[in-house]
């Protein structure tokens, strides 16, 4: 019997429960064109990694609560003071001071628009999104950077206004909990588990 690996932290130590790997036997690779001589073996492997979000954890937790966080450098001695970053940057890339987390949800709802996009018919192994994937890169007023995400409804276009949606029901606590829909989309149209 196997269960998924689960982890929690107690006294600053990882505590592990369940199976973190599953055994599958090797099999030989043989040459059908040469008397089935041995060429190699398969090496099956299935593992679960234990990954810390560190100072970005608050960003991923906030998505599950319907909030989009960015960060800003407030260091008065920094040439880039006031610059707003999303992706969330824990430290300012210029002065390396600790940035302040700010709530960008309202700015996103009012000013988000598509800078560029791509409709991708293919995916790699372990993909969890429906295909085709509509990649979008989003500009916001007053933000220095251009966030990459995906559009859940409609067809993307340059300059198109979009609003964020959040997987508040059954969140994955990954970047997939943040998605976007065209401005004016009705609540009933949202994909399962998502809300504005």
């Amino acid at each position: 019997m196997s269960t998924y690996g689960h982890v929690f932290v107690k006294n600053n130590q990882y505590k592990l429960k369940g199976a973190f790997h599953h055994l599958t036997p090797n099999t030989p690779i043989r040459n059908a064109d040469d008397d089935w001589k041995l060429l190699g073996v398969t090496n099956p492997r299935d593992m679960t990694y234990i990954h810390s979000y560190g100072g970005e954890a608050v960003f991923f937790e906030s998505l599950s609560k319907g909030k989009l966080l960015a960060t800003r450098c407030d260091n008065t001695g920094c040439d880039s003071k006031g610059t707003i970053y999303i992706p969330f940057r824990i430290h300012c890339p210029d002065c390396l001071g600790k940035n302040r987390a700010i709530d960008l949800t309202d700015v996103a709802k009012k000013t988000a628009r598509i800078h560029t996009f791509m409709v991708c018919e293919r995916s790699g192994a372990f993909n969890m999104l429906d295909k085709p994937i509509k990649f979008i890169n989003i500009e916001f007023d007053g933000v220095a950077t251009i966030l990459m995400s995906y559009l859940s409804l409609g067809e993307p276009a340059f300059g198109m206004k979009v609003v964020p949606i959040f997987k508040t029901s059954g969140p994955t606590f990954t970047i997939l909990d943040l998605s976007w829909v065209p401005e004016g989309t009705k609540k009933e149209q949202l994909p399962e588990g998502f809300s504005f």
Partner: protein, 478 residues
Amino acid sequence: MITFSKQQLKIPQLQRPVYLVTAGQSKFDRAFPDKRTEELCIDAFTMAAHLLDMSPAELKKYIHTCYYGHFADHFGDQLLGESVIHDRLGLDPLGNVGVKTGGATGGSTLWEGLKAVASGYSDCVLVMGWERMDEVPTDEGNFLISCAADKDWEAPLGHIYTGYYAVMAQRYWQIFGKSEDSFRRTLAEISVKHHGYARFNPFAQSPMKITVEDVLKSPVVAYPLRALDCCLMSVGAACTILCDEDTALKLTKNSKNKPLRIWVAAGSHTLRPADRRDMDIPLLPNETADQYKDLGKRFPGGDRYPGFTGFLAARMAAYYGYGMAGIADPMEDLDVIELHDAFTISDVQTYEDIGLRPYGYGRDYVESGDCYHINPHTGKPGKLPSNLSGGLIGCMHSVGATGIMQTFEIATHLWNRWEEFHGDEMLWKKFDRKKPKDWTNLQVVGAKRGMAISHAGVGSHVTSTILMDPDHLIKKDA
């Protein structure tokens, strides 16, 4: 807005001249079920020795340190693969180091080797690169490649690198290509050219005689990019030997290889395109600030630099490289180039980043016929032929080896030995490939100076490798 300090913009200075004396490579293919990586590396090294009319054992006596380019440990499922190769080449106990910078790994490995010789640490170094990309099925391979994107912010989005990349292509296509059919055809022409040149290269994995229509009818990967717009996934190895002047003269005593001067420079930019901040366009010697003043007017939306349309890392690699080697105008000063054509559209973007054309006008390098061995419009030699190897689209993209393969190609032109290494019947037979009846000698006649651009993914790392015949330097004290 990002600005650069004077210290950061310093033109790099080598402590002494560095020479490339030989190079070699294995056959490139999608899979080698019957060969270990070390066998391919030994093929490449043996070829490099033979070009000097030496045995591998003789050549090894000169090597002092080794630089190994091997990007994806997880593809080959072997950490410290460099150490395996180093031992199998019989080069212990010499110092060696592994270099990893994504698609630019080959170029970065040359960069490290160059600095070792230039500093005087070593008089002669081995620069070797390889990649093993056939140990997983293509889907899993795409997953592994996507691990080169930010694992929290990008990779979960489909685990498909093309998607992270192609958003940039889309922006370029709409802003600078104006979504024109004519531009789409120009992109297709690049694929036709590279698969076509690959037909004359026995090392190449994907020789094809195709038309623009074939490219336009190939399956969509991420619109407007189609299957035939994309580079290959490959297995193979390539190497070169770099040394100081004295060693170069000794090693080439019995060889047709003339020692070639080499410079390598590098630039970088954010792993996530999402993190790019605006800045003024850093200028190359053949550009002025004035020419970009109204870029946004000429190409609405094109005023945000580097935005998602320019590769700052390529621009900086060119800036440092041109400064070191004294190149004032790459179209005038260079005779042959190999570019990192991961996709047809990134080939065009690179023309602008490295100053073959101003920003916004990259397509003209193809449309003018300048990029061809023989310009199809004039029937005369192209002004600056590119990717005569077939490039990443037609020849290979065995990541750690790619930048070194490009450098091998440039060197064969400068040695005037291209025909020998591409036309030899024995080589075609050895690789179990059929030499086409219309095989054509793509030697660039009289080539004295060339360059190779090695580029990682969305532009996180880019290197420029410049080679020159030492009797045809631009800057005497370079």
